[in-house]
Symmetry: none
């Protein structure tokens, strides 16, 4: 399917990928302009459609591509021997924000799968959302140590609560930065604040 593209010299591949990434990340699927992409990538209009049969295919390819890169990064850098859910979360959060610092556009682009509502790609993205949530979840938290939870507590639901708390906290942090138009995250400060929430939850749920 995309063999043609992958045979291309890597420098040009990169130019195309990054141009598309930037455009989609900033404007969303619908608003992104293939014209802008080719201009930024410095290729001809025809060439883009030589490699990707239409805008949708390009978008879907990009999504796979960068998600793969992101997941690889995660799997390499997480300390998998640490089984405590709060420690694990801290590692993941730190990594996530590091990636965001380094590749904000890539991060935004991937994140957009959760908000993209252009009819054309909605179905594919919805499927993807489900996969990421369920598979991603099992991958990342399937092996945590549940023996630390209080007797009598509904562990599965407690884990969901932890999950939602961490997500909620991250999002609020993100929003705050957006609102302040800041791009620089103080990751240590973030992790410290996160730790307070972990503490509250530990108090409530752990023995």
């Amino acid at each position: 399917m995309f063999a043609k593209f992958l045979n291309l010299n890597p420098e040009k591949q990169d130019r195309i990928l990054n141009a598309a990434l930037k455009e989609f990340a900033q404007k969303g699927y619908q608003n992104a302009s293939t014209n802008e992409i080719v201009k930024e990538a410095e290729i001809s209009k025809g060439l883009l459609f030589h490699y990707f049969k239409n805008k949708k295919d390009l978008y879907l390819f990009l999504h796979n591509h960068f998600l793969d890169i992101f997941m690889e990064e995660i799997h390499k850098k997480i300390n998998w021997s640490e089984k405590d859910i709060f420690e694990r979360y801290r590692d993941i959060a730190r990594l996530k924000f590091e990636v965001y610092q380094k590749y904000p556009e890539m991060f935004n682009f991937i994140k957009n799968v959760f908000t993209e509502d252009a009819a054309e790609v909605k179905v594919d993205m919805d499927r993807r959302k489900q996969e990421i949530l369920s598979k991603g979840y099992k991958d990342l938290f399937g092996d945590i140590d549940t023996s630390k939870f209080k007797e009598g507590i509904d562990v599965e639901r407690a884990i969901n609560i932890i999950f939602w708390t961490m997500e909620g906290f991250s999002n609020r942090y993100h929003n705050k930065l957006d609102a302040l138009q800041l791009e620089l995250i103080n990751i240590d400060e973030l992790i410290a604040e996160m730790e307070f929430y972990s503490e509250v939850l530990r108090q409530g749920f752990y023995k």
Copy 2:
């Protein structure tokens, strides 16, 4: 600003409002077509731009308008004498899903403030998001009874956790319905499941 529009005969106001609501809710800001709106509202193109100087203004006006209606609804129907946070949440959740059942388009439209990424309206929507979250929060949960929480717990953060849990749970429910292409919500079932989460949280946070 919109005085001209508000002087218009109410029946025509309604036609315009509902046509625009439907279009924006279904297609998002960018994708919504003013052509479709005037066709549905049975007015001329010129008239729409006579009342609203551009598409963006129309969108912003609509948002204020329907959010006001929604908040009014909430304030009228909530039992404000109940000060327990979980009870309060249950009331709000029930109301939210009732509104969704009854006016899914209005609901979707308002909700879109959180996902809209069309460059033109993004800044305004981001500001709005902050307002809703902080002001809405204080409005709805400013008076709850904090004496029920365990001694030594960080109540403010605990409340945030409760908030994110309820939001996370609602969203997951919504997504599940979307994925199953269902439109009908069994509200009692939803509330019952929500109660389980409340129970876990009560166990952890309440005396």
Copy 3:
């Protein structure tokens, strides 16, 4: 459907119609360029699509329009009291070639219904072809005097033979003109030559 267009001031209607007619007649459906049409008609690109929702609709409208004009012309100018099939044919042929002289593009355009094979309009044109052939035939030759034919002859088939002969003759004449790149027809010469064929057929089929 096309009410919008028909309300337009006639001078501009004409400019659009003639520009489109010319383009379609010369290049066929597929090859005709809406860009050329708007340029020739001196209107903006958008306006064409304000009146006709797409290229296909424009084509179909044009076809109806000019065919109507053509049929009206025929019905007005034929001497309907003459019931002899050969006389009737002579009248029609003369008229046809007069129209061709006067409006060669209109003529070519209508004729193209029989050769148009662009997938998009083929189905509609095929239906039309059937209609024209069967209805047109009945209209034009439904009332001829069959008592002149020899006893024992299969009149229906004889009429078909006359029909095909006249068509074949006309086409050959047309082709010859095309090949010689002539535009001017000597109609009297044509009719005279046609008369020879009528004579052969009369000899064979009439009492």
Copy 4:
């Protein structure tokens, strides 16, 4: 001119020829895509244009090629000792429809010379049409027995009438099949119906 191509190994020649035939027959000159042709023939874009300097040349070459094949077939299979024009026509008609059954694409392609109106090839095709009609005619009917015609009849014109009748009949049959979306021809039924027309003509023109 096409020497290069004819030196190519026959299997590849065939792949190219058939791919082009199919594409042109199905879509007409203008609509046919050289992209599709190379894909179907499994050759590179460059190679096609190495052998044929452009699309038009390919089309013209194809036309010669398949017409030659078709004419050869005719000359081999007709019973040239039968000099009665109706018998000869029956043979030719039968053969034509047999070829159509067997190679509908080749048939359609050749036939298209009569309807092709893409500006680029129109002139060449018009010239070709004349050649086929006049030369083909002499080839096929130059030796028929004219002594069977009635005294006093204009034999040359009578033959034209027979010709147009048979063509007209064939075309009507074809159109009927197209309209019914049938692909299968009942050749015997067709010949039987044709015989009725022959009978009417014999009655009129033969002694």
